[in-house]
Subunit: 278 residues, 3 copies
């Protein structure tokens, strides 16, 4: 494994861009983790709006620098198409989180239909969700990745092929989250080895990473989307490592609090991006 | 009071069952405490899905091991009947939380109608809510129990009669939460003396207990439902005691965090189930 | 600046009134911060209900001592008019939070229409939102105040004129939150200098203040509304100061937890109201 050198400096320069621009993100997200997503976006220096009513989305996409669509609870599904249409019209990057795609037909169909019609800057999901988008069908257990889809050192080549297939099919960057994260725009590909298992024991770490990716995407050039997604992924994993170091003797409630602490102070934390160019 | 012996070992064996099976719980719950419910379910080793759209509920009930219905905010009420119908068809236990029943007509009517038509494994609510289900009408102050409904050592016999009446009427286990908790399936009855008053000073402890009860119910045989609900109730109260010990000099924000900490590490906490067979 | 003397004793007497009456607040609020709003209301000794379905709102307004309407996510907008109508009929004070008014047409139009038809006890918002209500149009960046609207020592007279104009136009108390908060009913006016910048780096401090203001308004006489809103504002800022002292070396996750801690123990915290009669 050849980790990228000076990656913490590179992360710092991404965060400086975010804190300089303070991008507004229009977020259509689920009601389970909506508060975490807003706080994570604030913690990195960006600004969230979660107004998802169909007649308001165009106004908010217009003033935003990026759009997040997370299909977790689908109660606001009528606004997804509107948000993607206006994002296309106004040239704002969309980060899509296909939560639970593969587990229920309605969301699989809807997500695929959206991808067919509108451009997307980044798709971020777990291995089962990304595989579903590659194959048009998949097996997931609720909103968690199926065990058989896990990314290990041995399965990196096979999983990366899936990531690239989805990236090429939809002309976007794809970030597959797991024990090892894989990120690719079809040409440039990254593996990220940050993170801890506890991150899947609190709800919202995936949705929060999608929010963080939205902040990075909102300050990225089109050609930088894979790098943006890779550094957002690394930052989330680093925060998990820093939080775990403090919370492991306490429990999951403290872990969640320290995650936000770590995100808001990530450059001062004693953790490093563990990114490899594949 | 004759506390059940070896009750902590018994709780441990329930938790081992949950962590072995990692049951998926399809949760139709309120938007106020939805995040807490998800985190509590994760903290005990189960897995939550909160997707409540009518056209997705059948798919999720199908892959789930149990169903939770909490009528707290009613925004998803159109899905309750679908969830209970499919739970009956697929043989999944339903845990129902009749939040605020008695305080507004719409929810009283709807909840009673659901109970008339579909089986329920456990009903968990406060004393005013359970009394409303027994009498068809009741008096509650919002979502908290009325003072006149409090369970004290003196009122145990009268309150237990109400619990048993509801259990017998709907052929299910009933868990009435309060200073003393009463749980009964009409034959086997428990009193639980765990918990601290601060638990009613943060929102969501009742909803969280409903989630926890769902995890226990999902790994229980039908004949064990009262025991499952009793141990879930004890575990929540124990977590409250452990959290209060750490948070009492700090405040309610810390208390809420330590509650989740304690739930995720309950066997290591210096607290015991205080369960009595009545 | 002439700070009001004995202001902490005055805050104490407000809190005693709240804890004596334990007012029930019917809250129609946004889904992003709904949990925080409920917990803040509980932390000061009042009791929240967030049931927002149109057919239930009349029942809950009837048993409540006050009503909160926060237009943050608008998913429950069909209930606003019902809540305000029944609040008028039953004589319950309404606290309105015009979140994001000025940023999207739909909410500006709706909020203004509500104010034209129904009485409101307190409007609480940021400078851009209040200016929009004064001028019928405004510029905001999402849900945060525009930089040009900031309240500084120099701009107090100009901003206070806006606050008074809105108060006089809608015959209510107006609380404009910012680095310096301005509160007026058109006759009595306050400046509040409590608070810390971190309060705008976590989501929900504005919504939480609206909830807190609802608790104070629910125990206030009509003639005391400006004082009620001023002390609620001071209490929120004091909690921010106390939380920042503990969290500044940790991060934003801890800050949010300590905010609730401080609200639930505000009289024991080493912070003072910094209120001035203008």
């Amino acid at each position: 494994m050849n980790e990228i050198k000076d990656s913490k400096k590179c992360l710092q320069s991404w965060l400086e861009r975010i804190q300089e621009k303070r991008p507004l993100l229009e977020c259509l997200t689920n009601v389970v983790t909506i508060n975490d997503v807003a706080n994570v976006i604030l913690a990195c220096g960006a600004s969230p709006v979660m107004a998802d009513a169909a007649d308001e989305v165009p106004d908010f996409v217009n003033i935003a620098s990026g759009v997040i669509i997370n299909v977790g609870t689908m109660q606001n599904r009528g606004s997804y198409e509107i948000a993607m249409r206006y994002a296309q019209e106004y040239g704002k990057p969309v980060v899509l989180d296909p939560v639970g795609v593969g587990a229920a037909k309605a969301r699989t169909t809807l997500t695929t239909a959206l991808l067919r019609r509108y451009p997307c800057a980044v798709i971020r999901g777990n291995a089962s969700e990304i595989r579903t988008l590659a194959e048009g069908a998949g097996e997931t257990k609720g909103v968690d990745a199926a065990v058989g889809d896990a990314v290990t050192e041995e399965t990196i080549p096979a999983r990366l092929a899936v990531v690239k297939a989805v990236a090429n099919r939809w002309h976007c960057t794809v970030a597959m989250s797991g024990a090892i994260d894989l990120i690719s725009d079809g040409k440039v590909s990254y593996a990220c080895r940050n993170g801890v298992p506890w991150m899947s024991n609190v709800t919202g770490t995936g949705c929060s990473l999608t929010g963080l990716t939205g902040a990075f995407a909102a300050v990225a050039e089109k050609s930088e989307m894979a790098e943006a997604a890779a550094y957002a992924t690394a930052m989330m994993g680093m925060a998990g490592e820093a939080a775990y170091a403090k919370a492991k003797s306490l429990g999951l409630g403290s872990f969640r609090v320290y995650l936000i602490d770590a995100l808001s102070t990530i450059l001062e934390q004693d953790v490093q991006p563990r990114l490899e160019l594949l």
